[in-house]
Symmetry: C2
Subunit: 409 residues, 2 copies
């Protein structure tokens, strides 16, 4: 059961000029489910991406990175769910290339103009024949109005499709941004942590788009964790088709770029939070703010130590304010010269710990009250600098174990 | 249900000359359970220890470290379960000191000659009055034959008491070594990861004992993980009473020291493995060997990335050879220049992966056969150097969540 997360409404997802989406049921893992998606881009669309840093990165990640850094403009993306095509060696690379070649033929472009993406089980051979066989169905289905179906076609253990749209005025012109993402397990930052696709019809230069996608990932998908496992297939892709009709933006100081960036960032943060809300077995959505650290890096260390602790996560699942476990996690986060006597811990608005121990004002019933809510914010004040970091995570429940013990069977 | 772990037999636990143990029921967390232990050492006993590196280290850890580095010889240890006296600020330190002072008075020595240890819930005030009230009961109970009861008195969520004895001939004299440990959750290395006490009547110099305890910890308790949570209270203590009657050993090159060290190490490894076998909710005992790495550090990185992955651990719980999850964990272990095409993965004697993907000889039923066993050895061959590391861990089951969601209630 996702935490305070509803599926998107079809009519809320706005088409983006220059982006068409087509879906097919290729029977990749199971019969009769949408599992194949083609996204076609009109000419002159700019595209940038960030990818997993996992050394066992999937074959499609390797191919997508190569095509993205090549000289030809990207014309389409092909995404399958049900099989990650990761840990598949040379065969996997051949299958990813073959998929690109087949789609290129259908779209009358070069294979290097296609980016492939896969998500699903690792170390199983990709059923490339079934994918190629169903690509014409997906191409025949191409339409700008297919974001809703597309968001469903990229799901794996997700229980809710994740997609959101916004509009903003740039240069006097209404610009649309629509994004979608998938992910609920094997979620850990430092590479986009899932599949995410955000498209806008704004006109943004390639160089600016490249720096933007990194900034967006760092403040959204790199700030979430479900289980600390870094996927082999993570990717975040940002597309700007330029079809909205305003003059190209190539400078971050452009008067309207800040607003556009803010909205793109907002969409990315919303999608990232949706992934946590739909985290495998999640019953609580937890925001961890670490403040007054010396560097953002050490704030992140403390935040992720808390977020990754199975003991903290199970205590949240139980609504048990066993808050010493949070102090323990801060203590082993790797901030070598941390003076714990200066650390303050707040749960919601309740001061829990100060002077190296339980705050004298702290009452168990106050902790209990906060722990029972499904949305919890925790604030750790290190009191040794001016840096801060915020991350989002969820609890660890029986259902996480159940989902992951039963995933393949 | 612990994995292939039986409780010790009382008659197998050999007394160590110069060590007496006394137990009391102080009602620290629950009434009518053994929760207070005093270990008295005869004069001239040498003692050395390693402690948690958690910055939120418990009050007794701070006090024990101070007393251990002081000028006076240590004459006794006092250990309570049911309350960690961690995250308790100045009050916690006062309580630990008061406990030492009370015991010192009973044993006619200085408070600085007592080492305090606590284990249990974090951030609750230590019920120091009840402890001091029951110390006379524990002192009246002091006897060299109490190892069995003592091993029970230090348990928290442990389901099985952990203690083992060995004898070895040193300098023509029979020397006894008996150890005990507690721990089953909040288990992660890099500080002894639990409470462990190993005593011998061998005659070993203080300097040699100090280097020995570090070496022993590194090869035993620092090689295990249950949940990656580093406790605030971890300690491993090594005692040598010198009562066996042989000439003092102060040189690691002494002809019999190697044998003695081997047996002490064996006891430490057995105790460490017992902690994993009794890991919270454990149904599988998993040995992870990483071989042919460039450094032991990078072998450890890969081993612990696998051991900490909730996805790997739940797959083991389900006996599901979803082995791509292991490749993914190796991939994000932080070995930056790892060429995954050279990595070989074996499960038991079965080659699972090579050339960056599934081995052509691999059959699912072979993986399934190994996964069903309760003792599993996994071997990762990095093929880039000559270093190796071995660690021990367990799976992640419903019961881990249950135990830790319900621990305080």
């Amino acid at each position: 059961m996702p935490v305070d997360l509803s599926p998107p409404l079809k009519e809320e997802l706005l088409p983006v000029h220059g982006v068409s989406l087509g879906i097919a049921k290729a029977g990749i893992k199971r019969p009769d489910r949408r599992d194949l998606l083609v996204i076609q881009l009109e000419e002159h669309a700019q595209i940038a991406g960030v990818f997993t840093q996992n050394r066992f990165c999937a074959a499609p990640v390797a191919v997508a990175k190569a095509h993205l850094s090549g000289p030809l403009p990207i014309r389409a993306l092909v995404i399958n769910t049900g099989n990650a095509n990761a840990g598949t060696g040379q065969d996997g690379l051949d299958h990813a290339e073959a998929t690109c070649a087949a789609l290129a033929k259908l779209l009358d472009c070069q294979p290097q103009q296609i980016l492939p993406f896969s998500t699903g089980v690792i170390m199983e051979p990709l059923p490339v024949d079934r994918i190629i066989e169903h690509l014409p169905v997906a191409v025949a289905d191409l339409s700008p109005d297919n974001w809703f179906a597309a968001a469903h076609a990229i799901m794996t253990t997700d229980t809710v499709a994740k997609s959101v749209s916004r509009q903003v005025v740039v240069d006097g012109v209404a610009v649309t941004i629509t994004g979608m993402a998938k992910g609920s397990g094997m979620i850990h930052p430092n590479m986009a942590t899932m599949l995410g696709f955000i498209a806008t019809d704004a006109n943004i230069s390639q160089i600016l788009l490249r720096s933007l996608v990194k900034m967006v990932a760092d403040c959204s998908f790199n700030c979430i964790t479900v289980d600390g496992d870094t996927s082999t297939n993570d990717a975040l892709i940002l597309i700007a088709t330029g079809q909205a009709g305003h003059a190209p933006i190539s400078d971050a100081d452009h008067p309207d770029f800040g607003r556009l960036r803010t909205v793109i960032m907002e969409i990315a943060v919303l999608l990232a939070q949706m992934i946590v809300r739909d985290g495998e077995g999640a019953t609580k959505f937890i925001t961890i703010k670490v403040e007054k650290g010396r560097t953002r890096e050490e704030c992140n260390k403390a935040a992720f130590a808390i977020a990754h602790s199975p003991l903290v996560k199970t205590a949240f699942f139980a609504s048990d304010p066993n808050l010493g476990r949070i102090l323990a996690a801060i203590g082993y986060a790797g901030i070598d010269d941390l003076d714990v006597a200066h650390v303050h811990l707040y749960l919601g608005d309740v001061l829990v710990a100060e002077n190296g121990g339980r705050a004298t004002s702290y009452r168990e019933e106050d902790g209990q009250r906060i722990m029972r809510s499904s949305e919890i914010t925790m604030r750790v004040v290190l009191n040794r600098g001016e840096a801060a970091a915020t991350i989002w995570t969820c609890d660890l429940s029986y259902d996480y174990v159940k989902i992951n013990a039963e995933y393949r069977s």
